[in-house]
Amino acid sequence: MSSPAHSHSLFSGGRVFALAQNTLLELIRMRVFYFMLLFAMMVIGSSLFTVQFSFQEQFQVLKDVGLGAISIFSWLLGLLCTALLLPKDTEDRTLYTILAKPVPRFEYLLGKLLGVFLLIGISVVLMSLLFAGVLGLREQQVLAETIRTTSNPNDLAEAIATIKASAFNWNLVPGIALIYLKAILCATLTLFISTFASSSVFTVLVSVVIYLIGHVQGIAREYWLAGGNGAPLTKIMVALVALVFPDLQLFNVVDEIAVGTAVPMLLFWKITGFGLLYTLVYMLLAQVVFSTKEL
């Protein structure tokens, strides 16, 4: 007459979703989220009042500042939130409560990470909406001014077309998507570091250093593959940088998109695929270290 009261699956999307939802709520309640978002909104919003150039310069500076703010704040938010995840759960003893239940460690990590991804996603969407609003507002101002001061209909049509082409265009969307991708990649990398880090300060510092090195990894890779004439120790160090660190520069395409270069969709999907592969690898590495960690 004995039958198992509850069947337990090895992997449950429901459990992961519940963990992700809980993590998202937890992160939203943290002050760091509001501060980061507030700063980002201030930077993007204030760019409207700080630029006093010709309309082409204005739009370019608005785009550069806006996209730069989205990039830095999405990365910082992901970094700080992820660095705090494991230490906070350990400190609050939540980690033990969750893992005492039949929740595999992989699900726990995945749920936590998805919560951070959702948080970064919400922030990027909010910042992008404000950015589009600022660009749209400026576009309307410039258009109204141009219509008021231009009498020749042919000149006016050309001017309107030029202004519209300089302001918001859909080419910016893939650029913002790649900013998000870079932020989630860096968040996963931070999670991997936090699985073996002794404190969240260590995690943050190491992640920042990796972020900086990741942007010059391409230089190290080219030097190493070209067989540069350095000392053996230099060559070893360069090889290590090229092999171990991700090339974050590959995801920086917004600078060119802001000045009108469109990213081909095939290339966009290739970069996206490669970014997701990086994310998956760092997630698996985090799981390998976390699964053997003594809690």
Binding site: K63, S71, N152, A242, L243, V244, L267, F274, L285, V288
Partner: protein, 261 residues
């Protein structure tokens, strides 16, 4: 320590596999017009340590904008040498931003060059002032040529080059070439093709070729006064028989340049 060996080995193994993909992706991005910026010691000296780190960390465009704002300050103080250095750095950081190349060209080839020529107080020698003017004009030209090398399909840069050769160097043959190249680029203004023919009309020995081009524009495009005057002048110069002339000043309606655009 043992539990870290597997991740490290995995990272290195993944690193070996990812290198060719990264290299391929970079080359594809470069072919599509991305990752063209040059971060060198010259840029670093203009940006400072922290600015250079920021530029390396994916905030290249913002750093380029900051340098460009500093150009404005240097312009107000008429510090032409400093402007040149700042403009070089800004254009190296954002080589796809056509506006930076244009402004760098205008500031050097026109503002700095003319200011140097007129700078009688600080430089009494006219020879030296003329020399400084030529040097700045050359710098301005070089900005356009470098800009073209990064943006070969941009009509505006070729148009500025044509204007520079025509109005500053009085080299009408090169001006005609630059205007003609601009006219072939996507998004070129309609008048640029006519400008190429105008310039060609000023080149000794090319009048017949210019006349053919001008007649084509006369038949197909707006009949602006400059076009009609040039056709009339060339018909006189080339002694075109009255029966073959396309333009007769007495009974033609003209279109103003503003209307023509």
């Amino acid at each position: 320590m043992k539990r870290f060996l597997l991740p490290i080995a995995f990272l290195v193994g993944f690193g070996i596999l990812k290198l060719p993909v990264e290299k391929l992706l970079l080359s594809q991005e470069q072919a599509a017009g991305f990752q063209a910026a040059q971060l060198n010691l010259h840029v670093r000296s203009q940006l400072g340590q922290m600015g250079f780190v920021a530029a390396l960390s994916g905030f290249r465009a913002v750093m380029a904008d900051l340098l460009f704002i500093r150009v404005g300050t240097a312009f107000q103080k008429t510090e032409w040498g400093r402007m040149k250095l700042l403009l070089e750095s800004a254009t190296q950081l954002q080589p796809k931003a056509v506006m930076f190349w244009e402004m760098a060209h205008f500031h050097m080839a026109y503002d700095a060059a003319i200011a140097s020529r007129e700078n009688r107080i600080q430089q009494p020698s006219e020879t030296l002032r003329r020399r400084a003017e030529r040097e700045y004009m050359h710098i301005g030209e070089q900005f356009l040529l470098d800009g073209i090398s990064f943006n070969p399909d941009n009509s505006r840069l070729y148009e500025h080059l044509g204007r520079f050769y025509s109005k500053r160097l009085y080299d009408h043959e090169r001006a005609a070439e630059a205007y003609a190249t601009s006219a072939k680029k996507p998004g070129a203004h309609e008048y640029v093709g006519r400008f190429a023919a105008y310039e060609l009309a000023e080149v000794p020995g090319k009048e017949a070729q210019a006349y053919q081009q001008l007649c084509h524009f006369y038949k197909t495009g707006p009949r602006v006064p400059t076009l009609e005057n040039l056709i009339h002048r060339l018909e006189e110069k080339l002694a075109v028989p009255p029966s073959e002339r396309v333009y007769s000043p007495s009974n033609q309606e003209t279109v103003s340049p503003a209307q023509a655009r």
